[in-house]
């Protein structure tokens, strides 16, 4: 009788299976597909403004077709340019690389890799997705309101963002941006709390913290960072909303704009920056750590070698997580901050290079004398190590306040964070998709298309962002609509058409991925249970992806996740569920 009822219960309707699902695997797919759609929008926005930057003032029919009055005669309007830049950044940082990356892979992998039937709270998890979707809709809708979307850059510093009379984008578009961000933070907090609770409480028997795959460690620290720092963003955003609507003056003081002396005194625009970057810097690692976790897993699996220095890797993740909370001031060296305080931030910021260096060298040592299988996921992960190193190194210059003064807010910064955070995190995400696609959809993606996708992406990615270092060092500020008023920059502006060309090709290359992804969902080769011969628990679940993950008992864990090519065994992998042999010591 009871069995019958349960069987009946499993007959789910379309709505409860695909829409209001509480199954972590379905929610992860919902996050992924939403993020892919948002990603397409963000890439397209960037290509539109790259047209203007590459060939300033030239007329492009496509701009007028797509943007209408924002691009009269095919030339992008300068307010529209700022809106595109702002929304590109916002979508990429928050919706693709925070919601998309953590939402997809924390949801998919946490229960599967720790041996749990689902998240601690399926309902909160579902809510987290729906808040995310709602906030995505609001952000996209803000592109279509009177005055256009928020245009003050993705950091939306007041007073520019607080005063509707300062620019058209500071009207309704800005209010919607703030509203969307509050909902986004709600989503992020619901998700983050759930991840932390699940990892702490629901690990399978034998899954000690020191046996957790590095992905889970990365997701855990990411979730903790989010839970601790996102509330601060909410306070920053709510105070800004009040300055905009309730006549308060948290961020405003002594302002004379549009011919009027405003009645606000006593606020400080710098307060907003402190609050914003108190989230903003951990945010960089909220974006990056999951990607590093994913690549640790992929690199170890495909090198057929244990990840080198497992404990050092955990230590590095924890150190990076801790340090990320005490470095936010390096975004503010030129705000008039006390120079001594600046020195403190220089010191803490440069400390982050140490755990980062440890991680980079550990990756490389993992490859050394490995037996490397170049799946597309592996290519993206190796690419990630390269971008992490290349982009991270220029951080050493930006962290040095004396040097930051001259490159602050120039293209040097744009180059730095697009390589270290943009490319690395996107590579981690793409690698993760190629690697866990069989787990998500029970089918395989095309390897050959994956190769083409990877090589085009890394060449175009570096082609776009590497030259920007030189544009920035020559003194070109970011967020300029046109540089032709500055003859001293003419000689580096030769690089802009090249950069834009790479951007267009790189954007087009993503079509290979989109085709591969959506086609393979329906028509891809059917997957086997453990295609990559991996040790972690998710590959002990059946291909069919059932509710509750394991048909029978939950697995019992006997070892760490990285027993690849262990000399005690003939096979080059030993799943975590394999008991230790008599006399065998754990790593």
């Amino acid at each position: 009788m009871a069995d019958h009822a349960q069987a009946h219960h499993h007959e789910e309707s379309f709505i409860s299976k695909y829409v209001f699902s509480m199954d972590h695997k379905m929610i992860s797919k919902q996050f992924l597909i939403t993020a892919i759609v948002m990603g397409i929008v963000a890439v397209m926005l960037s290509i539109l403004f790259r047209l203007q930057l590459g060939w300033p003032g030239e007329s492009f029919g496509i701009l007028e077709t797509l943007l209408g009055k924002w691009a009269p005669d095919g030339v992008l309007d300068r307010n529209a340019y700022l809106a595109l830049v702002t929304i590109h950044g916002t979508i990429m940082v928050f919706f693709v690389l925070t919601g998309g990356l953590s939402g997809t892979f924390s949801n998919l992998l946490i229960p599967l890799q720790i041996g749990a039937r689902d998240m601690a709270s399926g309902f909160l998890n579902m809510l987290s997705y729906w808040f995310f979707l709602l906030s995505s809709f609001i952000m996209l809708a803000s592109l279509f309101v009177e005055g256009g979307a928020a245009s003050g850059g993705w950091t939306v510093y007041p007073p520019l963002s607080a005063l509707p009379q300062a620019m058209p984008g500071s009207g309704t578009g800005m209010t919607m941006w703030l509203l969307s961000m509050v909902l986004f933070v709600v989503s992020s907090l619901l998700g983050g709390l759930n991840y932390v609770v699940t990892i702490i409480n629901l690990r399978a028997k034998g899954m000690k913290m020191t046996r957790l795959p590095l992905t889970i460690w990365a997701f855990l620290v990411t979730a903790i960072l989010g839970v601790l720092s996102f509330p601060v963003l909410v306070s920053a955003v709510v105070l800004l909303l009040m300055d905009r609507t309730a006549g308060t003056a948290f961020y405003l003081s002594e302002i004379h704009i549009a011919g009027e002396a405003l009645p606000v005194t006593g606020g400080s625009p710098i307060l907003y920056q402190h609050l914003f970057w108190f989230l903003g810097h951990p945010e960089v690692y909220i974006v990056l750590l999951p990607a590093l976790g994913i690549s640790s897993e992929i690199i170890s699996t495909n090198s057929r070698k244990p990840i080198f220095g497992y404990r050092a890797m955990i230590g590095s993740i924890l150190a990076i997580g801790f340090l990320s909370f005490i470095v936010w001031g390096h975004h503010m060296f030129v705000t008039g901050m006390d120079p001594f305080l600046g020195s403190v931030f220089v010191f803490t910021t440069l400390l982050i290079a140490i755990p980062s260096a440890v991680k980079a060298f550990n990756y490389i040592t993992t490859l050394w004398k490995g037996n490397i299988k170049f799946t597309p996921a592996m290519l993206f992960s190796v690419g990630l190590v390269s971008t992490f190193v290349t982009g991270g190194l220029t951080g050493i210059i930006l962290a040095d306040s004396a040097l930051d003064v001259n490159v602050h807010d120039t293209y040097f910064v744009v180059a730095h964070f697009h390589i270290v955070m943009g490319m690395s995190a996107i590579f981690g995400m793409l690698g993760g998709i190629y690697h866990w696609f069989p787990k998500m959809f029970g089918r395989m993606m095309s390897t050959k298309l994956g190769y083409a996708h990877f090589w085009l992406t890394i060449v175009c990615g570096y082609g776009v962002f590497f030259p920007m270092h030189f544009v920035g060092m020559a003194g070109a500020p970011r967020r300029y609509y046109d540089y032709s008023n500055f003859p001293f920059l003419d000689w580096v502006m030769d690089l802009n058409p090249i950069i834009s060309t790479f951007a267009i090709i790189g954007g087009a290359a993503q079509l290979l991925f989109l085709f591969n992804f959506f086609y393979s969902i329906f028509r891809g080769q059917e997957a086997v249970q453990n295609p990559w011969k991996s040790n972690t628990l998710e590959w002990t679940t059946p291909v069919e992806r059932i509710h509750g993950n394991w048909p029978g008992e939950l697995p019992v864990v006997h070892r760490w996740a990285y027993d690849y090519s262990n000399p005690n065994y003939d096979e080059d992998f030993v799943p975590q569920t394999t008991p230790l042999k008599a006399g065998e010591e754990e790593h």
């Binding site: 300068r78 011919g259 440069l350 040095d400 807010d409 086609y519 086997v528 295609p531």
Partner: protein
């Protein structure tokens, strides 16, 4: 045209579907599994890493050769130290960049999968890990110490006798102010900003002018509200209602209670007032001064009056304190307000940055100098220019070279063209130039100037072409 686009898209989708089918069939024919990476594929990707490395490095080296001299030699004293520090850091990160990437690409290329080989089981090695914890720490210690030394030198105390210049920013242009003969800046207040006094320098005349202006505006607004038909009609109705109520009341009870009757006698006075006012209102509604405003407009005007009255209070609250040997209000009289920044070579300058509307950033790349301009919070930056504009023209071999101050914090539509020319000159040239600049207060009896206004010497530089659209003007 649109049909053509739709057609092209449709054909494209059809082609993709066909491609998919072909791909399906070939995959079935080959019977390869996607996860089984063939030897050829592994080898190809391994080789591609090497090809990529060569191309990538070639590109990087090309960029270094072509664009490595990013800016001409620093034109400021601290900038030389900054450049040396930059080169030092650049050398370190370039070495690490090549070394680490090479290891990464080389290992990827070398250790591609071979069936008969087993990877080396090498989970950790404390000595190795110690090496790459300690070595980066030591290098970073040097980077940090060297960096902070440079930082401390450039942010240290300002020398006595340094020239002080205030830089004012607004959407979308720059203004500079020199302190004049008394070396003290006069008090300035955002409440006193007018088109002819863009900094809001406080003087008795300025206060009088702005106060009169505000009072005029308030009177005008109040007048508009006083003559608003809707408001007048409402007031009239209310008055009539009062009269009607009183009449009604009187008829009902008047005869019975004498006490109340007495009151009625007293009340006749207010009835007259009401009647007069009603007559007045009728007249006003007929007059050509009468206005019709929406509720929102009425609200906006009331809000405006409130704001203007607050501004008036703030102006009346301005204190005149002493600074140095002079009163703050007098110190402003000899200030010189200009639209082009001139600096004497070899003398330390302390800039004080202010903004009147949003955050701007004063960026002078040729001097390796930058500081945000924050409304309500003055910021400072000091530097010593070491190369005159003329010398820099020789160095760069460019007759038209000019130093610039540009805005480097997004501030609105014309952010990309918010610039001010900076001229570095010999001490004598600078003094001559400065003497030619008008002081803020021009004594007309002495000067007998052709123009009446006391506008800053903005004839030096035309308004930046793009600044017009949002430039503030008083309404």
């Amino acid at each position: 045209m649109k049909i053509l686009i739709i057609l092209v898209i449709a054909v494209g989708i059809a082609a993709l579907l066909q491609l998919g089918r072909v791909y399906d069939l070939t995959a079935k024919l080959r019977k390869t599994r996607e996860e089984e990476i063939s030897f050829a594929d592994n080898k190809m990707n391994a080789m591609l890493w090497l090809v990529f490395m060569v191309l990538f490095y070639a590109g990087v080296i090309y960029l270094f050769i072509e664009y490595g001299d990013y800016l001409p030699v620093s034109a400021s004293e601290h900038g030389v130290g900054v450049d040396t520090l930059m080169s030092f850091n650049m050398i370190i990160i370039t070495i690490v960049f090549f070394a680490v990437n090479t290891l990464l690409f080389y290992f990827s290329a070398k250790y591609y999968y071979k069936k008969d080989r087993k990877a080396k089981f090498f989970p950790h090695d404390n000595r190795l890990e110690l090496v790459w914890t300690v070595v980066p720490s030591l290098v970073l210690a040097i980077v940090i110490i060297y960096g902070l030394q440079t930082w401390n030198a450039m942010t240290g105390e300002v020398e006595d006798g340094a020239l002080r210049v205030e830089i004012y920013s607004k959407q979308f242009d720059w203004t500079a102010r020199y302190a004049g003969t008394d070396s003290e800046f006069g008090l300035s207040s955002y409440n006193l900003i007018t088109p002819t006094n863009p900094l809001g320098i406080v003087t008795d005349d300025g206060i009088e002018e702005v106060t009169a202006e505000i009072e005029g505006q308030v009177d005008k607004l109040k007048m508009e509200l006083a003559y608003e038909r809707g408001l007048l009609a409402a007031e009239k109705e209310e008055l009539e209602h009062q009269l009607h109520e009183a009449d009604h009341h009187g008829h009902d009870h008047g005869d019975h209670e004498h006490a109340e009757g007495d009151d009625h006698h007293g009340n006749d006075a207010w009835k007259d007032v009401n009647m007069n006012r009603i007559a007045e209102i009728e007249e006003m509604m007929e007059s050509d001064k009468a206005t019709v405003l929406t509720e929102a407009a009425i609200e906006a005007k009331r809000e405006k009056i409130y704001r203007l009255e607050l501004q008036l209070q703030r102006i009346l609250g301005l204190d005149n304190n002493t600074i140095g040997d002079v009163m703050e209000w007098e110190a402003g009289l000899d200030d010189q307000v200009v639209r082009e920044l001139h600096l004497p070579v070899g003398q330390e300058v302390e800039f004080i940055f202010r903004s009147r509307d949003v955050i701007h950033s004063a960026y002078m790349p040729h001097f390796r100098a930058q500081m945000n301009c924050v409304p309500g919070v003055p910021t400072r930056f000091k530097m010593t220019p070491t190369i005159t504009t003329d010398s820099m023209r020789m160095i760069t071999d460019n007759e038209e070279f000019d130093y610039l101050l540009l805005c480097n914090k997004v501030c609105g539509a014309a952010h990309f063209n918010m610039q001010m020319k900076v001229v570095v000159q010999s001490e004598e040239q600078y003094k001559t130039w400065l003497e030619q600049q008008k002081t803020f207060y021009v004594d007309e009896s002495k000067e007998n100037n052709e123009s009446e206004d006391v506008s800053p010497a903005d004839d030096n530089v035309a308004e930046p072409a793009d600044a017009g659209d949002q430039t503030a003007t008083i309404d």
